[in-house]
Every structure is written in structure tokens, then in C-alpha cells.
């Protein structure tokens, strides 16, 4: 039984260590989750909702992007949504608001922009629930007005 006592004493420290690491990791993940959300917690108008799971992506992205008057996406840093992805062109697409309608425009990207699975070549009007796909990233267009 002496052997068991030693093991049991070692194990109790291991247990405390494991359980606390577990709790720490969960809290840390929740923290990162909230951090990415909080910027756009109150969107009233139209926004793009990311459909991919955040923790599967190799780069930092927000959960949703409020559109406002105009929003652009691309690899270059002067875009509103910057995607450091080789499949994305430097200036890939933009969405423009015009008299309460939203239009998406492909900026001659090499791999294309897909709306509901169809590649767009010029300008297309967006409707609630449209799915915009660039590379492996999918957004849903949501307009709450």
C-alpha cells in the first residue's frame, strides 16, 4: 500500500494542475471569442457575418463586419477586411451602398468572387442571406433595415 500512497500524493498535485490548466484554457478561449466580437456588438444596418469557424483560420478575422457606406476586401493592408490568403487578390471585391440597396462589385480578382455559388463578373445587387465566397472564406450578407 505504500506504493499507492506515494502515487496518490503525486496524483493529487497533478489533478489540481490539470483542472486549473483546463479552466485557464477555457477562459482564455472565451476571452479571445469576446474580444473578436465586442467591436461590432451593436450593428443596426447591414453587415457581413463570417460563416467559417474562427479558430480554424490561420489568420485573425472578426466574427462580423459592419458595412456602412462601403466595405472592401483584399490582401492589401488598405482594405477594410484584410485577408492574408494567397487565393485572395490585393483588391478583391467591395460592397457599396446606394439608396438603401447594397451592391457587390468584383475588382478583377484572379480567383473570383462567388455569390450563392455563382461567379460574378460585374456588379450584383445583394439580398438578405446571400452567401459571398472568396477563396475558402464565406460570408453571409445580412441587412437588418
Amino acid at each position: 500500500m505504500k506504493m499507492f500512497n506515494i502515487l496518490s500524493i503525486i496524483a493529487k498535485y497533478v489533478f489540481v494542475f490539470i483542472v486549473y490548466t483546463f479552466i485557464f484554457l477555457i477562459i482564455r478561449m472565451i476571452y479571445l471569442d469576446i474580444n473578436s466580437l465586442s467591436k461590432y456588438e451593436n450593428y443596426n444596418g447591414a453587415y457581413l457575418k463570417l460563416l467559417n469557424r474562427l479558430d480554424n483560420l490561420p489568420y485573425k478575422l472578426n466574427d462580423s463586419y459592419s458595412i456602412g457606406q462601403e466595405i472592401s476586401l483584399g490582401r492589401h493592408n488598405d482594405n477594410d477586411i484584410v485577408l492574408k490568403d494567397p487565393y485572395i487578390s490585393k483588391h478583391h471585391f467591395r460592397i457599396v451602398k446606394d439608396e438603401n440597396e447594397y451592391f457587390i462589385e468584383d475588382l478583377n480578382s484572379s480567383n473570383g468572387t462567388y455569390v450563392n455559388g455563382e461567379r460574378i463578373f460585374d456588379v450584383k445587387k445583394l439580398a438578405y442571406g446571400d452567401i459571398i465566397k472568396v477563396g475558402n472564406i464565406e460570408f453571409m450578407f445580412i441587412n437588418q433595415e
Binding site: A11, V16, T21, I26
Partner: protein, 413 residues
Amino acid sequence: MKKLNFKVTRNLLFAFEIISLSLIFLFNWPNIDRNTIYISLGLIGLVYVSNILLFKLSKGDHYIFSIVCMLISIGVIMIYRIDQDLGLRQLKWLYIGIVSFFVTYMVFKSYDRWSKHFNIYLATSYILFFGTLAFGFSTHGSIRWISIGGISFQPSELIKIIFIFILACIYSDSSFLSKPKLIKYKEPVTMILVYSFIAILFIQRNLGASIVFFSIFLGIQYIYSEDNKYTILNILLFSIGGLIGYFLFDHVKIRFLTWLNPWEYIDTIGYQITQSLFAIAEGGFFGTGIGRGHPNFIPLAYNDFIFSAIVEEMGVFTGIAIIMLYLILVYRGFKIALKQKDVFYRIISIGISLLLGIQTFIIIGGVIKLIPLTGLTLPFVSYGGTSILTSFIALGILQGASEKEIYGGPKNE
């Protein structure tokens, strides 16, 4: 940025289960049959696989299930250490629990008209209540069990969930109480309903459950009622009820006496609580180590008093960790409610978070003598088939509600 994901927590959980299991087998050596080993290894596998499965399956919350897996692991190890037979039964209940979690989640997610069946919920809970009164048998001084075909269960545990549905129907204006003619009487009628539930529980001498029901009602009423005077009235009524209960019923009085000074009655009614306090004191920061304490000295150590048993053998640090796990769980529940746009699902999420939070507070507070002790199970940790099953069903509903949050209505995919 360092990539952080659920793989690490999953593996930590796995490591915890393997180490504690080997230790417990070593402790009981050589009185272990093959069956037990297979069943427990199977459960570890099931927990691991279901964590992966849920991650693939669900777009909703992924924290609540991992947290609960950690809680059940700590709990079942302790129950197995206290009593091998009970531990084995608990293992089997956990299988049923996890399966029913997935079933509930699927069913709740795929059906959209939960808010339309107020009358059915109401009828079911009254049938279950009166069924318990008519056919129930009593253990530890309260009538709360009924037995069907050799399997006994506690209807009050199940009614807790139905009760949340009833309140959600009422306050999301989906019940007949919100018809224009009746809307004036919505609050008073709701209160009569709730107090009839509490009265039946009180007759069954199920004090803990009646407090849980009341607290859930108070919480939801405070958030959703237009008029706060009903909330104040509620608190007043409950305090008066408590006072009357104290003077009229012995079993209420005993709880208060053993809370204020258990040392005076250490041989009789104060025995349980004092043993629990001794056990907690014995444990210290890191506990005595599994198999080296005496949790058998506490009556009902595997059930209501599991928290004291855990603190004795695994230390107050593990005790604090358990409280923290419940805190995160309840926090996630409220987070789901905040993101949810549909009022009905929002109230369901709040109700379930309140249920888990209050039940934990009441029983942990009871065994550490912070508040008067009332018999309740610690959700996911204590021994008990009905408790495990209903807790997992509640969790499945919460998981389902977290997924309905995204577009606030039917999914458009």
C-alpha cells in the same frame, strides 16, 4: 498568434480521466472485474469522441459540453472511490446521459414550435406531480420517487425543465394567458400556478426543489415582468411562507437549527453537517489524496455531500475549481441568452442557466454551512440517475438554443 483550440482541452480532459482511473483501479486492486474496466474505458472514449463530434456537428456553443465533461469526470471518480457498485451504475447512467444530450439537442434543434404547447406542458407537470403524490414512496423523509417497472425516478427533476418551458411560454406571450381578455390577469394567474407547484413540492417535503422552482420563477419574472411590484410581492410571500414553515413544520426547523449551531446536536440531527465540515477541514489545500481520506464517514457522501468528499480527498483547490467550472457554465448560459434574439429561446436559456446555478449554490452552500442545508443533487457530479439524465437533457436544450441564436429564426442555409 499562438493557435488555441479545443484539442488542448480535450487532451487535458483525456489525461485527467486516464490518470484518475488508473489510480482508482490501483486503489481497488485486485477487486476489479474486467467489465468495469471495459465500461470505464468505453466512457472515456465516448467523452472524447462526443467532444469531437459536437465540434463538427454544432455551430453553437462548444464550451458548455467540455466543462460538463470535466465535472462528470471528477464526480464519477469520487463516487467510484466511495462505493464501487454505485460508481458502476453511475458510469452506465453517464452513457445514457451523453446519448440523451445528443438526442435532446437534435430534437430541440429540428423542431420549431416549442412555444406553442403551453397546455401540454402544464398538464404533464400536474400529472407528474399528482402521480408522485399518489404512487410515490419516500426516502430520507421526502416523498419524491415513483417506480415504474422496477426503475425508480424523481418526477420533480423532470418537472424542473418543463417548468422552464411553461415560464418561457407565458413570458414570451405564447400561452392562452396573453389573449387580450386575460392579459390583465397574467401575472396573478402565473403566480398562482407557480405557488401551486411549490405547495405540492412542500407537501412532498422536497424543500430544495421548491426553492429552486421559486428562484427560477423570481429570476425570470424580475427580467420579463412589466411590473416590479409582483416581484416584491413574491419575495414578501416567500419570506412569510418560510416563517410559517419554520414554526409549523419540524423538518424546516431542523434545517435552521443545524445551520445556526450544528455542534449542539452533533449526535443527532447535526451529525451530517458536522461530518461534512470535518471532511472539508481534513482535506486542506491539496486534499489527502484519492483513497487516503475517509469520505465514508459522511452520510450520503456520494449524493448530496459529494462536494465535501471531493474536497477531503482532492483538496480545497479542486473544490474551488468545481465552483469556477459552474461559474463559467452559467456565464456561457447567459451569454447564449444574450445573443439569442427569440424571446422564447432566450427565456429557456436563462431558465436553464438559473437552474444549474441556483442548484449548485444551494447544495454547495448547504454542505459548507453557508446557508441552511436542503437536499439537492450537485448537477453532473452527484450520484443519481434522474439527476444526471435531466441535467444532460437541460444541457442539450441549452446547446440547441445556442444554435438557434445565429439568425434568430429558422436557419436559412
